[in-house]
């Protein structure tokens, strides 16, 4: 199962872009550029920096409501970044300005149409010539359901109640259906469907176009797509998970899963659980990356990184907490930690810079050279597509006659 195009000892690196960074007070740092968050130039600079560091891809966060410090409800805080742009469109705006790095926007699949999402990501794959991905997210926020008005989502009162489990399972099952419909639409044109046969006057061979006839619990989609099969065949599908239900979505539908272990034992257990689910889903022989998510404060002196975190916490009025492990230290210390996690079964990492203006360059100019010195990271982009960078083959079309 080891990828053929990259050495198994190499790890993969992605960076998660969100506003000015993952610490809620990050926008107050001198390098933060908080007034430019809604401009293309801001995002172009970030992605160019990530590409300079030879990273596999960037993810771009998104949501169908305002950012909030509360998991379920909007808050009324005025001291944090609020407001953002559509992540797919940011990715597309940046695509012609970059050449190698993968672009993986977040899309919320709970209230949106698989037909639209499928053609949007296929098109991102065209405009980036094979570097598109998708980070699938669900929303259980009643407030976001009210932005669409087509269904109500009950407010989660107790996380361990049977009702909550049922709701969460249903939302993730719907997400799996959504991705299944999206994936079928990507395959709904065979690669050589456009024939331009002047002799018969036919532009396409319609026998190479396929109805997907997806029928699920929440929706059905007829197909075929309006957009021909994208350059990668199947753009990258990714999802974040913290427990069994989302791990199952990762195992069933993803090419990359993001997980949040806090130590190596936990990493080993999560990877084992996902691998077991992957086998249950009948995908045991497919390459599925499991990336560890880490929030990072990186400085050349560990005391400096800790002091920076303290300073930001003081500005925010409370200690920063995250679902992911928060790392504070030097690039070399982080490289040690990534090595340990990799030995526990993780194949890559999605780093969440605490302050993008500071910690992203620390990743590309500090961590990356350190990993390269250790022979653990690429020294040049070795493939033209995102799947290629991750050692994933271009998949055969499920509808093409063998």
């Amino acid at each position: 199962m080891s990828p053929s195009s990259s050495s198994p000892s190499l790890l993969h690196l992605a960076v998660a872009l969100d506003g000015t960074g993952w610490h809620p007070a990050s926008w107050r740092e001198p390098e933060a550029r908080p007034r430019e968050l809604l401009t293309a130039g801001y995002w172009a600079d970030l992605v160019a920096e990530a590409e300079r560091g030879l990273l596999d891809f960037v993810t771009i966060e998104d949501g169908l409501g305002p950012q909030s410090s509360h998991f379920l409800d909007p808050d009324e805080r005025t001291d944090q970044v609020r407001g953002r742009l559509d992540a797919v469109l940011i990715a597309s705006r940046i695509a012609p300005l970059t050449r190698h790095i993968g672009l993986v926007p977040t899309a919320v699949v709970t209230h949106t149409e698989p037909f639209h999402l499928s053609k949007a990501i296929a098109t991102l794959d065209y405009v980036s010539t094979g570097r598109a991905g998708l980070r699938v997210q669900i929303t259980a926020r009643p407030s976001e359901a009210a932005h669409f008005g087509r269904r109500t989502i009950p407010r989660i009162e107790a996380y361990d109640s049977p009702e909550t489990q049922e709701l969460v399972t249903d939302l993730f099952d719907e997400a799996a259906d959504h991705v299944e419909a999206v994936r079928r639409l990507w395959d709904s044109w065979e690669d050589d469907a456009e024939i331009r046969d002047a002799a018969t006057g036919r532009f396409i061979d319609r026998d190479k176009l396929h109805y997907i006839d997806f029928e699920g619990k929440h929706f059905s989609v007829k197909g075929p797509s309006i957009t021909p099969r994208p350059p990668q065949g199947q753009p990258l599908v990714t999802a974040l998970g913290h427990q069994t239900v989302p791990y199952r979505l990762i195992a069933r539908q993803a090419d990359v899963g993001y997980v949040t272990p806090h130590d190596t034992d936990q990493a080993r257990a999560i990877v084992a659980e996902i691998r077991a689910e992957q086998e249950t889903a009948g995908r045991a022989d497919e390459l599925l990356h499991v990336f560890g998510d880490l929030v990072v404060f990186l400085d050349d002196d560990p005391a400096e990184a800790a002091a920076r975190r303290d300073r930001l916490d003081t500005l925010a009025g409370e200690p920063y907490q995250s679902d992911a492990r928060i790392f504070t230290g030097t690039p070399s210390q982080l490289a040690d930690l990534l090595g340990e996690f990799q030995a526990a079964g993780l194949t890559g990492f999605r780093l969440r810079p605490a302050v993008l203006g500071h910690d992203l360059p620390a990743i590309t100019r500090g961590l990356v050279p350190e990993l390269q010195r250790r022979g653990a990271f690429r020294t040049d982009y070795e493939a033209d597509t995102l799947r290629g960078l991750l050692g994933l083959d271009r998949p055969a079309n499920r509808y093409a006659a063998a």
């Binding site: 007034r35 405009v127 669409f148 319609r206």
Partner: protein, 458 residues
């Protein structure tokens, strides 16, 4: 004193799924690869056009129960291409058709506001409607709107998105790093909309964009479509590109503006127009004939006849006479997903008229379709085309044109190089962009200024 010369507005349509692109021409390139869109957009911007326009398709057309395979088939996603084109252009307006039936206002408003930010104020939305269950089979909300409700949904859809655009005023973000105040208000973007089609509330999460609201275009030609445009649109795409029809349409639509408290210059009339351009008028006439024959193969001619006959006509010879059987006047079952079908509201009368035309001119099926179907609106040398376009605009048959070349993506290159300079010499077309946004190019006020103006007036 003579009237000052009107300034011409020009735009270009990158033809997606259509029956006019001559895809078999050796020069015809990809209609999917981004390099094609980039070439087309750069030519359009080099020519100082107002905007580039992309249509939309949400279901592949079918005829006789099979996917229609004779025209260009397939296209990329409108929003995604426009966002990428913002990276390779600086001034060009970016206009996309987005259907109001198979989308939700919150999502579309986010996408247009985002596109407006990411392009520095160059986005425009061509609002279209549909109702059919055929297209609806691709969507989770399913099929269907009763036909009479499509404009009521479209109107409410547009009004709702404008409420969302207006929910941020533009002064909420302070981002004061010193004091730690990011937002002036605790709940910017708050909205409540209760209506017939949408009952939604909450907070919009895209702050106000450079144009305030994207420019709004409308393309339907029904009575309701014209009213919708007069009440709500900044421009209307018409298909009346002859002088006489154009003037009638122009007068009709502009006269509807007053009852909505709008001035004549607040709605532009922009017909789609094709052209055949060559060095001399004679060569252009020859080119036009060639292109028409390339556009209408024998197979295409038969399929075109099937729209009217509503029958399988594949056994007929396209080079032979028209069928002597009458059209099937039951509900149209032969062709799905094609707006053109609705143009033939009385198939029996159309068939009768076509038979008479064919008999009088000794036309075969293919000749008939070539001669009655799409004709180039402007045929001639650069001088002839520049003169004619200007005549139409000065005569109020339109405010300009949306040019649809028959070759993708290079079909506009010669127009940019040869016709545009002549229009510029005549002083009727810009030589440089006057401002950064599409509203500047179109001479439209920013919605905030317009509201101020209306407040002062009332």
């Amino acid at each position: 004193m003579s009237k000052p010369l009107k300034q011409i507005h020009l735009a270009a349509h990158f033809p997606g799924v259509n029956n006019t692109t001559v895809w078999s021409d050796p020069e015809a390139g990809s209609h999917i690869e981004f390099s094609s869109f980039a070439h087309f957009a750069k030519t359009t911007e080099r020519a100082k056009f107002d905007f580039l326009f992309l249509a939309e398709g949400l279901r592949l057309r079918e005829q006789g129960g099979k996917i229609y395979d004779l025209d260009v088939v397939g296209r990329p996603d409108t929003f995604t291409v426009l966002a990428a084109l913002a990276a390779v252009t600086e001034h060009l307006g970016l206009t996309g058709t987005i259907n109001s039936t198979f989308n939700e206002p919150y999502e579309v408003a986010r996408q247009f506001a985002s596109l407006d930010h990411l392009s520095g104020g160059r986005s425009a939305w061509n609002v279209v409607t549909s109702w059919d269950a055929f297209t609806g089979e691709n969507f989770r909300r399913g099929g269907f709107l009763p036909q009479e409700e499509r404009y009521s949904r479209a109107k409410e859809f547009l009004a709702t998105t404008q409420e969302l655009f207006d929910s941020w005023h533009g002064d909420e973000i302070l981002a004061d790093q010193e004091s730690g105040v990011f937002l002036r208000d605790a709940k910017p973007g708050s909205f409540v909309h209760t209506g017939q089609h949408f009952d939604i509330h909450g907070q919009f999460n895209v702050p106000r964009s450079p144009q305030g609201r994207p420019v709004v275009f409308q393309a339907g030609d029904s009575e309701e479509g014209r009213e919708f445009a007069a009440s709500s649109a900044d421009a209307i795409f018409s298909r009346y590109a002859t002088l006489k029809e154009g003037r009638t349409f122009y007068t009709d639509v502009k006269n509807r503006l007053a009852k909505y408290g709008r001035r004549h210059d607040q709605l532009l009339i922009l017909p789609a127009a094709s052209f055949a351009l060559a060095d001399t008028d004679a060569e252009a006439e020859e080119l036009a004939r060639t292109v028409r024959r390339q556009q209408v193969s024998g197979a295409t001619a038969l399929k075109h006849l099937e729209f009217v006959w509503n029958r399988d006509l594949s056994s007929y010879d396209p080079e032979g006479p028209l069928p002597d059987i009458d059209p099937d006047v039951s509900d149209n079952h032969i062709s799905k997903g094609r707006a053109q079908v609705r143009m033939y509201r009385d198939p029996l009368a159309t068939a009768r008229e076509w038979r008479e035309l064919a008999a009088a001119n000794n036309w075969s099926i293919r000749d008939l379709v070539i001669n009655t179907g799409n004709r180039q609106n402007f045929v001639g040398s650069p001088e002839t085309i520049a003169r004619t376009i200007n005549e139409y605009v000065q005569a109020d048959a339109s405010d300009g044109f949306i040019l649809v070349p028959h070759i993708t993506p290079t079909g506009l290159d010669a127009f940019a190089d040869k016709v545009v300079p002549l229009l510029q010499e005549q002083g009727v077309f810009r030589t440089e962009y006057e401002g950064p946004t599409l509203r500047h190019h179109l001479g439209l006020a920013h919605p905030d200024d317009l509201q101020d103006e209306q407040r002062v007036a009332s």
